[in-house]
Each structure stands twice: as structure tokens, then as C-alpha cells.
């Protein structure tokens, strides 16, 4: 620890701290534009100047100087940093004046207005006039993709966006061309960015140079109501803030959570909101004579009650979709139990995870933040870049720190970091369990991480692959005291919560495939199940939000609420229960899904024992106390992995296929979004160009 005096406050800080960090530790506020905690230090905006006693007689950029670089006084006194001296004040005013020389005064038409760092800091640290009477520099706007709108005249060349795309997103596509006053930010030949995390550059931009194109001119930050929530586009459970105006969701922004998403979110999370407004199911429908006809709630319920009457329990089934919250899954499971059915499945993709094997067999046991502790990684049948973009950036962050060998079995994809390509399928995994250089690497590691993707598990021999992966994890010492590196990466937000509830068929009951096969069941309740084809024959009750695949097949449609329109618990891939809050109301006659199921149960004559969400939750928490621990991960017992390792089974030798092939179109909301469609088309054209 090094001693330092900041504005008469003496404190101990680690010597590798920058002056800026030391000043913040002392409670002093340092303005900055280019500095960002998660990016490399550039030191080019000069806004963070402070006065250093004993240093050179000029202000020092506090972001770019370490505490250990300061000299003590002549008698060994700690170095002194001043953040409120006249010199600092004058320096900040001077820097601000320079920054504003070329910055346009177009705040009234700028989307950043009201949440602009430059605006705020000009108010706090600037002067009220400019001595600059000459013309301002103008810069041509650049096209960098359908998601980010550029107004390059506003750019103050902090290069945060360049550093983000290069370091965090891992695509070296943005750059600063030219020099001096003529420096400009652009992509090579103005090609669209290819990153799944590019939306974050709009958040990082301290001015209005990079703003969100879909949100352009839609709203002002002060007229938006902010609701803290959780994302459901993937199983990471990124923390988000949903901004609404009236009933409309205007945008989605990330929320800081060091353990989950740091402060990044993927583009799908961020730009999905236009899909919440289109293709919505806003009233009930009943299929009459082969055509779906609008119906009232009582009519729809009556149609269902009539159909359910007399059907034996084992001919009724339920499917839980990928976006369902724990509460409605619980309600559906309760309803099916009341109807005497155990045919429920949350695994539309046919993955072979089974809660009866223990919770550790299907969680990302190492934890997302645990990736940073790992010192070797094996990826089995997964493409984390598409399946969990934010988690992939965490892997990349760990890789950047060095000494992080990564091996991959599965499809050969660009993950933004290099890896040893070990093989395509289960044969490689079988070999690896026995020996191999990468097995040695894993063995020598202190904290080896085995990441198993859904691509390896959603196949008929998935259980054998899972057991084999567990055997490998145990063999290389990935499961031990204080470390469980056996980690399953999910792709569906609802999956872990539903597995926690045991929403899978028991022995002899029908699973998702059996239920949807011809002659599977007579009545099928599909709770937002859009990723599976249901064979003709069954009477399908679809409870969901969008007129997507599931609704097209349905015989009765009950309109539900999307994730921004209800309060619901979601458990992410590491087993962290998080609460999504209601930011808006469902459209038209749509209601929250649990309430729909509760009302339906009454009509069927199997009234569910809860009349409010809090009663439902009380019942839920009674059976599953870990779900009440919101924002916490209740660690799973690693004994399950050890037991799994002893399970036999030899997988067939087939290559692992990626679980997510269309990153931008994985769920009904995304498929209803025009922005996602544009991104998808762009991704396809890029693939086609690469194939040529």
C-alpha cells in the first residue's frame, strides 16, 4: 500500500492505482471522457487533470499516472494531489474550452441531450462563454451499421468506442483515421460492425456522436420511466433497465452487475424492443372451422373446458417455452398436476438435462464471474459468442489476461479469441477423457473450466455426452473443494428455473418430443412454446405474446404478457434467481400468464390455490426456497457431478451442432423485430461474402 494525500485527506491505496482511482477513493470527483474502468487507458481527453505537488509544475492527467510513480516529499512525506486548486480549476476550464471549440451546439436536436457527459461536465467544470469565433470543424457522418447512428461532428475523439470494439468485443473494426483536428472515427470502408455487443458503444460515447439508431428522435431521457429488470434473450440474465413512456417500451439499457453482465448487454437484449410492439396477441382466439376467430376470454375458456372434459390426465401435456418465468411455469405445472398429468417439459430443443440428476448437473457451476478465476477452458459443443455474447466477452477478458489455454470441441467458429480446435464431436471428447495434450493442460490447471453447450446435449445421446463431460471434469480435477468447473451453458432464459421446478416428465411420462409427435397427447398447453413443431392431432392451447410459430399451430390462443409486462423470476444459467419487473402493461386484453392459467383453472374446475402473485410466490418459495433468494446463487452440491461421472453410456459419433444458428432470431419477440431482421439479413450477407 502506498500513502497519498488527496486534498488534505491522507489515505492508503494500492500502488498500482491510478491517481484518478486514488482521488475517487478519497471521495474527490474527477471529470473524465476517455477514461473508462473496463477499457485500456488512453489519456487523450485531458479532462482529468489534477495538480501534483513535487511533480512537474504542470497539471497531470490523473488517469494515466500511477500512485507509485509519484515521488515523496523531501522528508519522506507522502505525495500530495490537489483536485480543487486554482490550477486544476483553470486547467479544466481550458480543456473544456478546447473540447467545445469544435463541438456543435446542437444539444436541442441531439439524442444524447439530457444524458450527455459533455453537457453535464461543461455545466460543472466549464466557463459560460467561448473565445472562439471561427467556424467549427465539420465531419462527415459514417455508416457503421444499422444499430449505431453517427453524428461525427460531435465526436471529441475519446476513442472509447475504438477501445471497446477492439478489447471487449474483440472485433478490430472501428478505428481513428487521420490525425489532429482531422481525426475521425470510422470502420474500414464504412462497413457495418459485426459484433453482437456493438450497441454498447452508444452507451460508452460521452457525447452524441454515437447514438442508438432505432431510438433516434424517439424520446428524451427525462420523460422516460425507468424500471430495473432482467433480460430474457439468453440464459445469462443480463441486468437491464427498461425505459418506458406511457405504455411503450422506448429502449433497453444495461444495468451494472459485476457478477453477471458487468455493464454490457448484447444487441439482441438492447434492440429487441420494437418487437414488443408488433405481431402482438392482444385478444383471445379460437379456431373455428380451421380459422382462428377472435373470441372473448369466457368463450376461449369455454372452448378449452369443453375439450379438456373427459380427457384422461395422461393424454394432456404441457410445454414450457424459452421465455417463461418461474411463476407461470409453476402455475402450469400445478394446473397439469391438478388435471392428473405429469406430461410437462421445458426442453423444447430436446436437451437431455434432467433435474433428477442433481442441480449441479445442469448449472453453470463455476459462475459467470468465476470465469475470471479459471486458468484453462474446454468448450464442448457451444458457440458462446452467439449463445451468450456477454459471457463470451467475459471469457475474452480472461483470455486477455494471459495464461488461459482454451480448447473447443464442436463447430469451428470465430469466438473473438484464439483456441485449440480439438475436434468436431463426441469422438474427440471420448479421446480427451483418456489422454491428450489438452487433457494434460486441464489437469495441470488449478481451476479448469468445462463449458458444455446445448449443442452437445440436445441430441438423442445427450445424456451420454453429459456423463462423459462430467467424467472428464472429474478426471482433470475440475470438481473439488472450492471449485466446480463443470458448467452447462444454457440458451433459454426459462430453462434453469423450469428445471429447478422439475418441469420435466417423470419415468414413463411424455417428454417434449413424444408430446408433439403425432398421436402424442390430446390436449397440449403450450406456454410460449415457439421453437418446436407440434404435429396435427392435438388440441393446442397457446399462451403467449406473439403471433409466431406456436400461435399459428394453436387451436385456442390466450394472450399473455411479455417479459417487460409482468413481474417474474428468471433463473440464469449459473442458478441466480433474478426478478424481472413490470415496466409496461400487456396490450389489449392480454394478461399476465400466471393469471391466465389461474382463471383457466377455475373454468376447468381445478381451481389453483392462489389468487394473487404473492400467494403464488408463497407457494412457490415453500417448495423451492432457493428461488426466494433473489440475486443470489445458491451453489449446487458437486456430488451430483461426481455421481454423473459414474453414469455409463457411450455417445454416438456425430459432430456437435451449434444450438444457436440465427443469433438475431432466437425467440418470438426477436422474430417480430424489424431491427433484428435487418441485423440478421446483414449477418447473412456477411456470411455469403465470406463464403465467396
Amino acid at each position: 500500500m502506498a500513502k497519498i494525500i488527496v486534498d488534505d485527506i491522507e489515505l492508503d491505496v494500492p500502488p498500482e492505482y491510478t491517481l484518478l482511482q486514488a482521488c475517487e477513493a478519497a471521495g474527490a470527483e474527477i471529470p473524465r471522457f476517455c477514461f473508462h474502468e473496463r477499457l485500456s487507458i488512453a489519456g487523450n481527453c485531458r479532462m482529468c487533470l489534477v495538480e501534483v505537488k513535487g511533480g512537474p509544475p504542470k497539471p497531470t492527467a490523473s488517469c494515466a499516472m500511477n500512485v507509485r510513480d509519484l515521488r515523496p516529499g523531501p522528508n519522506g512525506e507522502p505525495p500530495v494531489v490537489l483536485t480543487k486548486s486554482p490550477m486544476v480549476k483553470k486547467a479544466r476550464e481550458g480543456v473544456m474550452e478546447f473540447l467545445l471549440i469544435n463541438h456543435p451546439l446542437d444539444c436541442p436536436i441531439c439524442d444524447q441531450g439530457g444524458e450527455c457527459d459533455l453537457q453535464d461536465q461543461a455545466m460543472a467544470y466549464g466557463v459560460d462563454t467561448s473565445r472562439y469565433a471561427e467556424n467549427k470543424r465539420a465531419v462527415e457522418d459514417k455508416y457503421i451499421g444499422p444499430l449505431i447512428k453517427t453524428s461525427m461532428t460531435r465526436c471529441i475523439q475519446c476513442t472509447r468506442c475504438v477501445r471497446f470494439t477492439t478489447e471487449v468485443a474483440g472485433v478490430a473494426e472501428l478505428g481513428a483515421i487521420g490525425r489532429g483536428e482531422d481525426m475521425e472515427i470510422t470502420t474500414y470502408l464504412e462497413a457495418a460492425l459485426s459484433s453482437e455487443l456493438q450497441g454498447n458503444v452508444a452507451d460508452l460515447c460521452p457525447v452524441g456522436a454515437l447514438t442508438q439508431r432505432p431510438y433516434a428522435f424517439h424520446a428524451r431521457p427525462w420523460e422516460l420511466v425507468k424500471t430495473e429488470s432482467v433480460d430474457v434473450m439468453d440464459a445469462v440474465g443480463s441486468n437491464i433497465r427498461v425505459d418506458t413512456r406511457g405504455r411503450e417500451v422506448m429502449r433497453v439499457l444495461p444495468r451494472l452487475n459485476e457478477d453477471v453482465n458487468e455493464e454490457w448487454i448484447s444487441d439482441k437484449t438492447r434492440y429487441i424492443w420494437d418487437g414488443l410492439k408488433t405481431q402482438r396477441l392482444d385478444r383471445a382466439y379460437v379456431r373455428v372451422g380451421g380459422k382462428l376467430k377472435p373470441a372473448s376470454w369466457p368463450e376461449a375458456f369455454a372452448a378449452i373446458a369443453e375439450k379438456v372434459k373427459g380427457v384422461p390426465g395422461n393424454r394432456i401435456g404441457g410445454l414450457v417455452g424459452d421465455l417463461a418465468s418461474v411463476e407461470e411455469t409453476f402455475a402450469l405445472k400445478s394446473l397439469l398436476t391438478a388435471l392428473g398429468s405429469a406430461n410437462i417439459d421445458c426442453r423444447q430443443d430436446g436437451t437431455k438435462l434432467d433435474p433428477s440428476l442433481g442441480r449441479a448437473s445442469y448449472l453453470f457451476n463455476a459462475g459467470i464471474a468465476g470465469i475470471e478465476q479459471a486458468d484453462a477452458l474446454l468448450i464442448i459443443g457451444s458457440d458462446p459468442r452467439r449463445e451468450a455474447s456477454v459471457l463470451n466477452s467475459r471469457i475474452r477478458k480472461r483470455w486477455l489476461q494471459g495464461n488461459f489455454p482454451i480448447g473447443l470441441i464442436g463447430e469451428h467458429v470465430d469466438l473473438t479469441y484464439p483456441y485449440d480446435y480439438l475436434g468436431a464431436g463426441s469422438d474427440t471428447l471420448v479421446d480427451l477423457v483418456g489422454s491428450g495434450t489438452f487433457a494434460e493442460t486441464l489437469k495441470n490447471a488449478q481451476h479448469p473450466l468445462i463449458l458444455i453447450g446445448q449443442g452437445a446435449l440436445s441430441r438423442p445421446d445427450g445424456a451420454a455426452v453429459l456423463a462423459l463431460a462430467a467424467r472428464l471434469a472429474v478426471a482433470v480435477g475440475a470438481v473439488k473443494d472450492g471449485w466446480n468447473g463443470f458448467s452447462v451453458l444454457h440458451t433459454a432464459a426459462s430453462r434453469v428455473g423450469a428445471l429447478d421446478l422439475g418441469a420435466v416428465p417423470g419415468e414413463g411420462d411424455l417428454d417434449a418430443v413424444a408430446m408433439t409427435n403425432p398421436g402424442g397427447v390430446d390436449v397440449l398447453f403450450a406456454l410460449g412454446a415457439d421453437e418446436i413443431d407440434i404435429a396435427p392431432g392435438a388440441f393446442v392451447v397457446y399462451i403467449g405474446t406473439h403471433g409466431d410459430r406456436g400461435a399459428h399451430r394453436a387451436d385456442v390462443i390466450l394472450p399473455g404478457a411479455a417479459y417487460t409486462e409482468k413481474s417474474g423470476t428468471y433463473v440464469n444459467t449459473e442458478g441466480r434467481a433474478q426478478l424481472a419487473n413490470r415496466a409496461a402493461f400487456p396490450p389489449g386484453e392480454a394478461r399476465e400468464d400466471w393469471a391466465v392459467l389461474r382463471a383457466l383453472s377455475d373454468v376447468i374446475g381445478k381451481r389453483l390455490p392462489f389468487d394473487s402473485l404473492s400467494e403464488l410466490r408463497a407457494a412457490l418459495y415453500k417448495g423451492h426456497p432457493h428461488l426466494a433468494r433473489i440475486e443470489h446463487v445458491v451453489p449446487a452440491d458437486p456430488a451430483a457431478v461426481l455421481a454423473l461421472a459414474n453414469a455409463g453410456g457411450t455417445p454416438a459419433s456425430a459432430p456437435f451442432k451449434a444450438a444457436v444458428t440465427e443469433f438475431y432470431l432466437t425467440n418470438p419477440i426477436a422474430r417480430a423485430s424489424a431491427v433484428m431482421a435487418e441485423c440478421s439479413a446483414l449477418a447473412h450477407s456477411r456470411l455469403a461474402a465470406a463464403a465467396e
Binding site: 478490430a172 481513428a176 483515421i177 487521420g178 474500414y188 470502408l189
Partner: protein, 289 residues
């Protein structure tokens, strides 16, 4: 300074590749840098690509160099646009005239040279002449301030220029010749236009003074005195030291080389006669300005 952009698509070549000879050179250059730091070779490689392609860096050339060094194309693009020594637009086929416009050259008449360029090539810098043979630009100091004003064409500099000299140089390039580089007023490198003024004695260069210096005699005496047991050798009398011409250091073979007799002669006379004029090179001399 102005915004520098890539040349429009119509003038960009289809592709770029190093010649076999340049490829060998490039591999050698890349090998100079430690493993993992190959990107450091980007500037020399871009420069060689520019030379090979007739004086400008095309977009395919940037991609080619980037591929060669494992760099993203945007990183090469950043470098090519940062350094104004890389031309992003096609330049004159026969010559690209870089006129130095920094203070010494400006004072010595760089403005006149630029007028010539504007008249003969194009009113605007970086634009081709009508037949595409020439282009020009104003550059910052190219390092021959002694011989201001100057221009640079490819790797050669032409110094001590007047408008007429520049006209002649342009004529020569027009004819496809390569004019003699260096000072155009007859002086040798950056020697004074008025001729040599110091180290002009002929005996300095004919070997006659080797081992004969007065300083050497003093040193011998001092060594002899120390050998005789005297602790503090007397300091040489200042008058004698001042009078003695410094002996050339033994290790330096330069004085043994025969001097150019003419220069010595001229310089000798210049030394004797203070008014420096008579040996000044005659035509176009502007020293009186």
C-alpha cells in the same frame, strides 16, 4: 492539414501484391521484429508498397500489408492516414514534387517554387497535371534547411532552387530524364556557398604534420618529467598552448587522405582575403538577399 481520404473506387487497382524481390525484402524486414510484434513492420512495408505502386498506397495494398502482418485492415488504414508521407491518391507518373514550405525554405523562396508548381502542374496540390505526369504538394521540413529552398522527388532532394532551376528540373522529368540531385547552385553538399573557411591549410592534408605537432612535444616533455619523479608537472604555458596548432588524433586517418586540391586552393584564398565574395559560385546566387 486536411482530411485525407482513400482514392475513389474508380482509380483503385483490382489487387496488389509485392514483386518477388520486394517479397523477399518484406520477409527480411518482418523478421527484424520479435515474434508477435510483426505489426511493427507496417510502416516500412507500406512505404515499399507505395514505391512499388508508383508513389501511392491503394486500398488493396493496405489490405495486402495487413494480411501479411496479421493486422486488421482498419489498423493499417489508421496508419496510412496518419502519416502524410503515405499518398492515398495517385500521384504524377513521372514525378511527385514535394515542396518544402517550412520557415527556412519559405524565407528563401519556397513560395516561388509553389507558384511554378501551380502554373505547370495544377493549381491545387495533390491533383494530377493534365497529362497525369506530375503532381505536387507542400510538405513540412525535409531536413535540408541549409540548402533552402528545396523540393523532394521520390527519394532525391533538389536544393538551392530558383524558379528557373525548378523549371529545368520539371523539363528534365518531362523528357523522362533524371536530373542531377543535390544543390543546384554548384556548391558541394551543404558546404558554405562562399567556400571553405576553416581547416584550409594544405599541410593538414599532405601528411607533413603527422607526429610534428607542438602539443606532442609538450606531452613528451611532461611524460619525461613525470618519469624523473616530479609529482606535479608544470602546466604548459598558456601562450605556447594557444600558439600550438592541435595535433590531429592519431587514430583518425582522415587527414592522410589527399584533399581536393582545387577546394583547398580556393579555400586558401578565401581565408587570406576577408571579403568573401570572389569565390562565390556565380549563377543564380541569392546570397545578397
Amino acid at each position: 492539414m486536411s482530411v485525407r481520404r482513400l482514392a475513389p473506387k474508380e482509380v483503385q487497382p483490382e489487387s496488389f501484391a509485392f514483386t518477388a524481390e520486394n517479397l523477399v525484402w518484406a520477409e527480411k524486414t518482418i523478421a527484424k521484429y520479435p515474434a508477435g510484434r510483426q505489426a511493427s513492420a507496417v510502416i516500412p512495408l507500406l512505404m515499399r508498397a507505395q514505391e512499388q505502386a508508383g508513389g501511392w498506397v491503394s486500398e488493396p495494398a493496405m489490405r495486402y500489408v495487413g494480411d501479411m502482418l496479421g493486422m486488421a485492415p482498419i489498423r493499417v488504414y489508421e496508419i496510412a492516414t496518419f502519416y502524410t508521407q503515405f499518398q492515398l491518391q495517385p500521384v504524377g507518373r513521372k514525378a511527385h514534387i514535394q515542396v518544402c514550405g517550412t520557415t527556412p525554405c519559405m524565407l528563401k523562396g519556397a513560395g516561388d517554387l509553389m507558384k511554378v508548381c501551380k502554373r505547370r502542374i495544377n493549381a491545387e496540390p495533390f491533383h494530377l497535371s493534365e497529362n497525369g505526369d506530375f503532381s505536387w504538394e507542400e510538405v513540412e521540413c525535409a531536413g535540408t534547411c541549409t540548402n533552402a529552398p528545396m523540393i523532394q522527388v521520390w527519394k532525391d532532394v533538389y536544393e538551392d532552387l530558383t524558379s528557373e532551376d525548378l523549371d529545368k528540373i520539371l523539363d528534365a522529368f518531362e523528357r523522362g530524364e533524371k536530373p542531377t540531385s543535390g544543390p543546384q547552385n554548384g556548391r558541394i553538399t551543404s558546404a558554405p556557398v562562399t567556400g571553405l573557411r576553416v581547416l584550409t591549410s594544405p599541410e593538414l592534408y599532405d601528411g607533413s604534420m603527422v607526429g610534428q605537432g607542438a602539443g606532442l612535444a609538450l606531452a613528451r616533455e611532461a611524460i619525461a618529467a613525470r618519469a624523473n619523479g616530479e609529482t606535479a608537472p608544470p602546466a604548459p604555458p598558456p601562450a605556447a598552448a594557444a600558439a600550438a596548432p592541435p595535433a590531429p588524433p592519431k587514430s583518425d586517418p582522415a587527414p592522410a587522405a589527399p584533399p581536393p586540391a582545387k577546394a583547398v586552393e580556393a579555400a586558401g584564398s578565401a581565408d587570406s582575403e576577408k571579403p568573401a565574395k570572389p569565390v562565390a559560385p556565380p549563377p543564380g546566387e541569392k546570397a545578397s538577399d
